[in-house]
Amino acid sequence: MLFRRPCPSSLLLPIRPRLLAPFLNMPPRGSKRKAAASNIANGTSKRFRSSASRSPERYLSRPLPSTDPLRLPHPFHEQSEENGIVLRKFYPHEMSNARARAYNANELPRPMEELNAALADTAQERRRVMVKETVVHLFKMDLRTKDNRGLFAASETAKAAGASLIGLYIISPQDFEAHLRSPVRVDFTLRSLEVLKGDLAKLDIPLYVETVHKRKDVPGRILALMEEWGARHLFANIEYEVDELRREAKRRWFQGLSLRLEYNDDC
C-alpha cells in the first residue's frame, strides 16, 4: 500500500538545537531565538544589512506564501532573520504563536508522532523485505562501535542472513553550515571517523565516507549507494533534534523507500 504521509525522517539528518530550559513555560517567540552569532552565516555581519531580507535574490528564493494560517510567520520574524538568528537559507521563518499552540493542543502531529505513525504504517512492508548481499548502517551522531543500538541491530540482521554489514557516513557541508559547526568540531568528527574506520576494519566492516555538497541530494545518494552495494536495509539511530518544517527532506526520505515498496508489491 502506498503512503504519502509526510514523515519526520529529518530525524535522519542532524540538527543541533539551542535548547534553553528556562524558556519552557514561555511563549514560543523567545524560545525560537537561536543563539547564533550574527556573523557566522556568511562571513559578514548581517546586523548592518537591514535590507538583506528584501533583496531580490532572497525574495525569489522563498516559496510562495502559504494560505495555511498555521504556516504564517511570526509577526516579528524579520527581526530574527536580519540579525542572523534564523538562517533562512536553511530554515523556515519563525513560527507563529498560533502554530505553537496548535502543537500544544495536539492539533498538529509532532514530528515524532509522524515518525511513529510512518513506522507503524510500513511495519508490514518492512517485515517482508528480505536481506540481500549487504546491510547498511548510517552513522550520524553515534560514531562508535560499542553500545550502539542501531549498529548492533544492523549487525544481527546481516549475520542472520549471512550478509555483510557496511558503515556509511555522509559529510554534508551545508549541514555543518546550518548547524553552525566550528572548524574544531568538524575536525573532531573527521578524526573520530578515522578511529571508527580502523575499529570497523578489524571486524572486516568497511566504513564508507563521502561528501555530498547539497543536503537535499543526501537521501537520493544513500539510496543509490544501497543499490550499488546490493543493500535493501538501512539502519540508523534516531536523532531527536527535529526541525519539524523540513518536510521536503522528510518526504524524499520516506517516499524513496516507500515507493520502492509499492512498486515491488505490484510485481
Binding site: 538545537p17 560499542k146 550502539n148 549471512g162 559547526r181 568538524v186 566492516i205 536495509h233 527535529v242 526520505w253
Partner: protein, 193 residues
C-alpha cells in the same frame, strides 16, 4: 514473496537512556520541570534495567567481505569542507586537547570515574577546579553513549540504585540525565529550539 524486493529503513532509540515519550506526569503529560521528571526517569530505569544494558560491538563480517567489497576499505575519509579548515598550529593544539574517537572517550570516562567523580557534587560548579568530566563533545558526537556514562559510574557505586550511595556519582548521573531531559522536552514541544 515478490514483495520482498523493496527497501526498508529501520530506526532505533539510542541517544537517550530512556526514549522520549516514555515518561509522563500523573496527568499523562510531558514533564516540564526537571526534578519530578528525574525521579520518574530513575524509577523507570530501575523497573526496566535493560535500558542500561550495553550493546556489544558488531559481529565480524563474513570472510568473503574483503574480497567482495575490498574497494570500500580503501576509500579515504575526505578532508574538512571549505571554510572549516584550521591552521597547522590550531589542528595540533586541538588534537592534543580533544583526542577523538570512542577509545579516548572511554579513557576519559574511566579517568573521571577514578579520580574526579567522588568530588563531583562539589567541584563541578567551580570553574577553576577542573572538576567536570570534559566529556560533552564525546556525548554529543556519540563517541560515548549516555548509557555507558551512567552504567560505568553505577557499577563503581556501592549500590545498584541510581539514586543512592556516593553523592558524586548521583550528581554525575543526574547531569547525564539532563541530556535526556532536553531531548524529551524537544520531542514533545517541537518549537523549543
Amino acid at each position: 514473496m515478490l514483495a520482498a524486493k523493496g527497501m526498508a529503513l529501520e530506526v532505533f532509540h539510542d541517544a537517550c537512556v530512556v526514549p522520549p515519550g516514555q515518561l509522563t506526569s500523573g496527568s499523562g503529560k510531558q514533564y516540564a520541570v526537571y526534578s519530578p521528571w528525574f525521579r520518574s526517569w530513575i524509577a523507570h530505569i530501575h523497573g526496566n534495567l535493560e535500558l542500561i544494558e550495553l550493546s556489544d560491538a558488531p559481529f565480524k563480517n563474513p570472510g568473503s567481505t574483503r574480497q567482495a567489497l575490498g574497494r570500500l576499505f580503501d576509500v579515504k575519509i575526505p578532508g574538512a569542507p571549505s571554510g572549516k579548515g584550521m591552521t597547522k598550529e590550531e589542528a595540533t593544539r586541538y588534537r592534543w586537547l580533544w583526542p577523538a574517537g570512542e577509545h579516548e572517550a572511554m579513557k576519559r570516562l574511566e579517568t573521571f570515574c577514578d579520580e574526579k567523580v567522588g568530588q563531583y557534587a562539589a567541584s563541578r560548579n567551580i570553574p577553576g577546579s577542573n572538576g567536570t568530566s570534559s566529556l560533552s563533545v564525546h556525548l554529543a558526537s556519540g563517541t560515548l553513549s549516555a548509557r555507558t556514562a551512567v552504567r560505568l559510574a553505577r557499577d563503581m557505586n556501592r549500590t545498584k540504585k541510581l539514586d543512592g550511595g556516593s553523592e558524586g556519582i548521583q550528581t554525575w548521573i543526574s547531569e547525564v540525565a539532563w541530556r535526556d531531559f532536553y531531548k524529551h522536552v524537544l520531542v514533545n514541544w517541537p518549537y523549543v529550539w
